[in-house]
Structure formats: structure tokens, C-alpha cells
Amino acid sequence: MAEIVGAYFTSHVPAIGGAIHKGLQQEPYWKPFFDGFHKVHEWLAQVKPDVAIVFNNDHGLNFFLDKMPTFAVGAAAEYHNADEGWGLPLYKPFAGHTELSWHIINSLVEDEFDITTCQKMLVDHALSIPFELAWPDVEAWPVKIVPFAINTVQHPLPSAKRCLALGQAVNKALQSWTGDERIVIIGTGGLSHQLDGERAGFINRDYDTFCMDNLSVDPAALTTDSIHEMVRKAGTQGVEVLNWIAARGALGQAPVQEIHRNYHIPISNTAAATMLMEPA
């Protein structure tokens, strides 16, 4: 049976991609963030995943407002990055795991999650940057992916409770998968930040700490707030923590332990965070 080796969570601020491109990792501004990845590299080398289930959000590359799925699941053989409009380097393509995608899709729909399936899906910095951080300097990614895009752009957004349930349903699907893959779960985005409005620049260390403290041991604690209250506490874009909550759900309901955490304010306008969790 396939094994879920653990979960990796990280912010996906576009400027991180610029810093990698320019080799700024050891500059004073960037060092506190990038130094949080030594442990990630060590852990990935140890657990050697070959598949990644990734929960992220599109930023107007693949989805426009003409059609905005709440939960979209990739079922493509390949996923490509493309020009996002503001000068980021173009990132490497990803190999998909179509059989696993369809297995998960079938299982989710059977469990009454009315997802959108995508046989073509462009992936943006929200997926590429966490991979650049996790596996720097590789020619090709060492894992195949099954990407989930959660709508964090256009309200109404799915509730945190629903995102956790989605993740748990993905875990159930993985339990019935007969392959022998080593699967890592990835959640990207956040933590607190707000790019728009007069409150631009809003960061909330207390709420982020609450989220990080509870995500491993009591993820349901993150699901009691309405989306509106989450925006108040995390900022308009801080609601990307929904990706983390879904990813935590996909780790399953058995006990989980946090094995690494790094938190640094600011990277660009964002409270940047990185975490690792393993089955206890």
C-alpha cells in the first residue's frame, strides 16, 4: 500500500522566486526565511517521496472569473507554468500522476464532493515556488503531482471546515489506493498578509501562531471561524491558510507530530512560514 510520509507547508510569495533567481538566499533580508529549508531538504532526502498531493490556489493564470471552481483537481499528464504578467522566471513543468488523480476524483465524488476536474491546468508561483524551495537545483522534479486548486480569490470561499473535510476525503481515497508510492502532502500560501485596500500590509503574528500551534494537534480549532472572521484575522490573502487546512486533512485523522517550524516577518508583505509534519 502507498505510504503517506508526511506533509510540507510553506508560503509561496512570488518575490521568493525572484530571490532564488538572483541567488539572494544568504542576503540578510532573505536568510531567516531560506535557512528554514535546510531541515526540509534533509527530511525530503530521508523520506524520499515520489508523489506529491498539492493544495494551492490559482492567482489568475489558469482560472479567470468567467469560470471559478471552488475545488479543482488536476488530472493531467503534465502541468506547465506560464507568464504570469509580472516578470517572474518561467518554472519547470511537472509530471502528473493521472491514474492517482482519477482514483482520488472518483473517490471524492462518491463521497459527495462536487469537484471540478481539469485535464489541462496551468500552475503558477503558488505551486512552483514551494517546489523550488524544497528541491533547489534539480533538473526535473523528483515527484509526480496531483494538484488541487482551492478558490481563495472570489467570495464566497469554501469554509475552513469544508476544506478540512475535503482533505480528509483525499486521505480516505489514498487509503484505498493500491499503488506503492511514497506520498508527500503539500499545502502552500499564507500565512497572514493583505495586499489590497487601506489595510494593505496587515500581518497578525498571534493568529499565525494559533494556526501553527494547532494545525498538527487540533486542526478543527482552525475551522471554527467564518471566512469573514478569517479575513479579519489573517488578511484578505491570509485566507490561503485554507490550503494548509486541506493539506492537514489529507494527512489523516491519526495523530500527527510537528517536526519543523520556521516563521519570519516580513517576506514582501507576508508573514512567511514553513512547517513539516509526520505521522506520530
Partner: protein, 137 residues
């Protein structure tokens, strides 16, 4: 299009991109979405008036774009993820956009972010930023 979320207490300085905003801002966001293509970015730079006309921007949207008013664009239904692509045409990043929306210099906006990193709350850091801006005019 009022949903249950709208009965919640408003969040100061925050504009939720909901169904009303998405409907209002469709043309502006569609134009910004087109900027994923380099040729379209160039076409905008070559003839902004014609490019905006092609996307049928509303007068309010056209005015906000002409004035480079980020808050104006948001009021006209613009979504920040799409507006960021317009900002990118002018070489502006999210700190520049933050400074434009808060009415302070980019350096003061960045200092406000760093102050939060140094342990200040947002309210403290924001209060200091606004206070400083008043002193320096």
C-alpha cells in the same frame, strides 16, 4: 447578491472580492487577465486608450486606470491578483502597491512591515507609519 457573510461586522480598510465586486469589475479584471501575454502588455503601453476601449472598461474603471489609482480600481471591482498584472507593466511590486493604497512612501510602507517583524502589532506599526507621514507631510 448579498450573502450571509455580508451581515458580519465590516473589516476596516478591507474590501472583500464578492459576487457584487466580481460582477462590477468583470471588464477591468478581464483586461488585466489579458496581461499574462507579453504582446498584450505591449499593446496597452502602445495605446492605452484603445486597449481599454477594446475591453469595454466602464467610465469609473477607465478613470481609475488613467489615474493609476489602486483604491479606485478596487472600488470599481478590480481584484488585486489581476490588478497586480497591470502594476507589473509599470514595474511596480506589492510594496509599491501597498504604498499607493496607504498614502505613504514605499520606504515608510516597508518600515511598517519590518516593524511588525520586530514585534510590533499591525496597529502599532501602522499608527507609527501614519504619524510619521503626518510629521513629514
Amino acid at each position: 447578491m448579498s450573502g450571509p457573510q455580508n451581515v458580519s461586522e465590516p473589516i476596516p480598510g478591507t474590501h472583500l472580492f464578492d459576487g457584487d465586486a466580481a460582477a462590477k469589475g468583470f471588464e477591468l479584471n478581464a483586461m488585466c487577465y489579458s496581461f499574462n501575454n507579453a504582446a498584450n502588455r505591449q499593446a496597452f503601453l502602445d495605446d492605452e486608450e484603445a486597449y481599454c476601449a477594446k475591453f469595454h472598461l466602464t467610465p469609473e474603471q477607465r478613470k481609475a486606470v488613467a489615474e493609476r489609482s489602486v483604491l479606485g480600481m478596487i472600488a470599481a471591482g478590480g481584484n488585486i491578483y489581476y490588478l497586480a498584472k497591470l502594476a507589473g507593466i509599470f514595474g511596480l511590486n506589492v510594496q509599491d502597491v501597498g504604498s499607493m493604497q496607504t498614502g505613504v512612501s514605499v520606504d515608510d510602507f516597508k518600515a511598517m512591515l519590518l516593524a511588525q517583524g520586530a514585534g510590533r502589532t499591525y496597529d502599532e506599526a501602522h499608527g507609527a507609519m501614519i504619524g510619521k507621514e503626518k510629521v513629514h507631510g
